[in-house]
Symmetry: C2
Subunit: 232 residues, 2 copies
């Protein structure tokens, strides 16, 4: 067999020159990261174009996943009756949530808008199939939740791609997940990781809305960096 055909049949497994990004390209990423918001009220009703949605979901699918298990699924929900049921599930959970806060914070909590389930034209439920990749998954042997973490990486990729495309995302976490699983017919072995509201936005808050409304403060990043060990 001549060396050429051997090379063709058995291409060498090796890395190639890495893409170098320009100052402008780096700045684009930082501007996308810095202007990304958790959107609750700014959704426009215009449906998201199919090609835009495809690019956003493809970006999610390019996330890292433990053992390349790609444990995620994306359920796209537009039906108004189904979203009304989901909204009811949110309201039930949110009433429970309000009562968990100290009495003097409940008023402020109830004044916050925390979801855009019916206002946004699209809801996306991102799940993690805990059985995908088989019984033993490379990299998950000692940390069983690595598949959930992989799915969150997909959520963050999706969120940044959406921001770049002019689509706002709001992550709604105030649900009893079993309510959502019942409404969406999600089987036992599949876990809901994120429930997202999605729609075009023309306006966004400059800072996180919870910061703008005085609910919480930004911590300077320097205070969160440690050297060598937790105590240093």
């Amino acid at each position: 067999m001549c060396p050429l055909s051997e090379k063709t049949l058995n291409p060498p497994i090796k890395p190639s020159t890495a893409r170098v990004f320009s100052t402008e390209e780096k700045q684009a990423l930082y501007d996308i990261i810095n202007s990304r918001r958790d959107v609750r009220n700014e959704f426009l009703s215009t449906p998201i174009k199919d090609d835009v949605l495809t690019r956003i979901l493809s970006a999610a699918h390019k996330a890292p996943s433990v053992g390349l298990s790609q444990p995620w699924n994306f359920i796209l929900i537009k039906d108004a009756a189904r979203r009304a049921k989901i909204h009811e599930a949110f309201e039930k959970a949110n009433d429970e949530a309000a009562q968990m806060f100290p009495a003097d914070k409940q008023g402020a909590y109830r004044a916050l808008k925390l979801e855009g389930i019916k206002k946004s034209p699209l809801n996306i439920c991102i799940t993690c199939d805990r059985t995908r990749g088989g019984k033993v998954v490379l990299g998950r042997t000692h940390n069983n939740d690595m598949d959930l973490y992989s799915t969150v990486c997909a959520v963050q990729n999706l969120w940044l791609a959406a921001r770049a495309e002019g689509v706002g995302i709001g992550w709604v976490s105030i649900f009893n997940n079993q309510d959502l699983k019942d409404i969406l017919h999600i089987p036992e072995h599949v876990e809901i990781v994120a429930f997202l509201c999605a729609g075009y936005v023309s306006e966004l808050f400059k800072e996180p809305e919870l910061e703008a409304r005085g609910w919480a403060k930004r911590i300077p990043v320097e205070e969160l960096i440690k050297t060598e060990t937790w105590h240093a």
Copy 2:
């Protein structure tokens, strides 16, 4: 009080015009997302410049966090003796891991390089302080692990910023986390979410290394998208 000073004291809380990204800026994000790799062997020994590291960590800190709790910390580890100990902890766990695979896969598993702890010039341990934000955190009332998920969003922001800056990242998940906690003096209430190896790279795999080496296959994204419910 004149209207002007009232406005100054109580600025209106409202969104402003959202930044629109150009085709080139969108493409930069997609190129960063698509060329991001889980790096094990391509690390150069050059130390990461301080300003580059600051930008990468600041990008992580701009991740969404439940109730704006910002539960993450970043422990930067350079000390060679400490990294040698961490590498020992990896090797112990990796031996245990190899034995979990079916006999006919153990050889292939052991042939894979799964970490760059000593080769990379910097290790970053990203933790989640489960007590940050107080006893009741907005958005965490029904999903207690939302703080862990927020921390994973920070990891993914960091990973993309690193790619843009020419820095490779490898996530090592094959540890008994208590071993790492002992080495890094991490207290009980703080959970390790990600242990990353970081260093400049000039070469990268074009596809995920596990795909290039035939360990796992990419699933077409279309197969992962569902409409309205899990079964549709």
